[in-house]
Symmetry: C2
Subunit: 215 residues, 2 copies
DNA sequence: TAGATTGTTAATCGATTAACAATC
DNA sequence: TAGATTGTTAATCGATTAACAATC
């Protein structure tokens, strides 16, 4: 329901907070709560109640004054909004340490991501399985992506290989790339790229830690 | 709330872009360029030249009109500002898939991070080494952190264990936590927490991909 | 009812972008 | 010089926060 057509465009900031709410709500639900207010969420997560309210409203949920939101309804609303309950199939390229970690992560399935195949250039890995996912030759990527109509590619290769892999994914028809390699990727404007630079997260932390130690 | 008394308060957004510039500049340097302008950086990274200029200015670099910035000087300026050239020692807790991936990542050393020990609760792992880093019993964490005066802890445990580990790290004197577990951590206000929620990155991507597919 | 909470509009804050003078 | 680029101030934009009426 409430599929408002072209509703308020949701800010990236809101999009990043929604999974955090989801996490917190799951924990709360496990403790037996079946109703929750923005006030409570905001307090626990050190945010402003109004911000939480706006974020939740973006998912289409409607609450009840004096009461709050029904827990299962709220969780479902967030999940639906984030596209977590209609699985996205994805391929992963680069079955090294980080790639293997993601293949073994497990938690992605409940967030609507299913990695159906991994690709690598190393002959030693090709033909094996990592955490149950087959590792294939990169040469087979275009065919598989097209046949299975895969929309999402995950890049966990070393930096020097990443751009060529991105090109290959785009040529094969992938519409979104999750880039975990330490590179800036050049792709056509219509392709969505989400960069998760582990070094960048670290940079923020290092800088703030250094500032702290000076006091 | 955050009373950093730096000369110029640097926005978190700037802090996140600096490593991207660094990455791009390293690639450019490898191609033999030894001077670069904001115009060029902005064009390659699809940003506004003014934004690049302000970001770089935050690191203290001074450029020359008509010319731009000297490459080695600019790289050093970014590295120094981010604290990448005076190593931070860190411990990692949770030597599972993701933890092992980080231990094997290698790229962190050049960003000023040195993981000196890993901790795990599993007897099978204790006493082993992963990518050259010893895996120790969590019981030994407080002593080691205090003795070596470690400031930074990295949490890669499953969600249920994360809060207890965070408490332990804080008690032991750690001042910053890089949390890669899917949990929201409660810590004292003076402790810096940087959350890298892999699921959250994914959430942003899923949502935008879903929106795209509807068109 | 009284009071807590939602939903929404208005004000504030901060970051981005534009404009432009200074400089080499 | 002429023109590209820096550095900086002002304007704009967007997100957060505050205020408040509606509601149960």
């Amino acid at each position: 329901m409430n599929q408002l057509q072209d509703p308020v465009p949701v800010s990236r900031a809101t999009l990043k907070r929604l999974p955090v709410y989801h996490l917190f709500l799951k924990e709360l639900q496990a403790k037996g709560r079946d109703v929750v207010s923005c006030t409570r969420i905001a307090e626990a997560l050190r945010l402003e109640p109004t911000q939480v309210r706006k974020d939740l409203a973006a998912t289409g949920i409607v609450g009840r004054p004096r009461i709050g939101y029904q827990m299962p309804e709220l969780l479902t609303s967030i999940e639906t909004f984030l596209g977590w309950n209609n699985a996205n199939e994805a391929v992963l390229v680069g079955a090294g340490n980080l790639g293997s970690a993601l293949l073994g992560y497990g938690g992605f399935t409940e967030h609507g991501l299913s990695i159906v195949a991994a690709f690598d250039a190393s002959p030693a890995k090709i033909g094996t399985e990592i955490h149950g996912v087959p590792v294939l030759d990169v040469a087979k990527l275009p065919d598989l992506v097209q046949r299975l109509n895969i929309h999402l590619g995950i890049i966990t290769t070393p930096a020097p290989a990443a751009q060529a892999i991105a090109d290959l994914l785009v040529e094969s028809g992938v519409q979104a790339i999750w880039n975990l390699s330490p590179t800036y990727l050049e792709v056509p404007a219509e392709v969505i790229v989400e960069n998760t630079q582990l070094a960048a997260s670290l940079a923020v932390l290092s800088n703030r830690l250094a500032a702290n130690l000076h006091h």
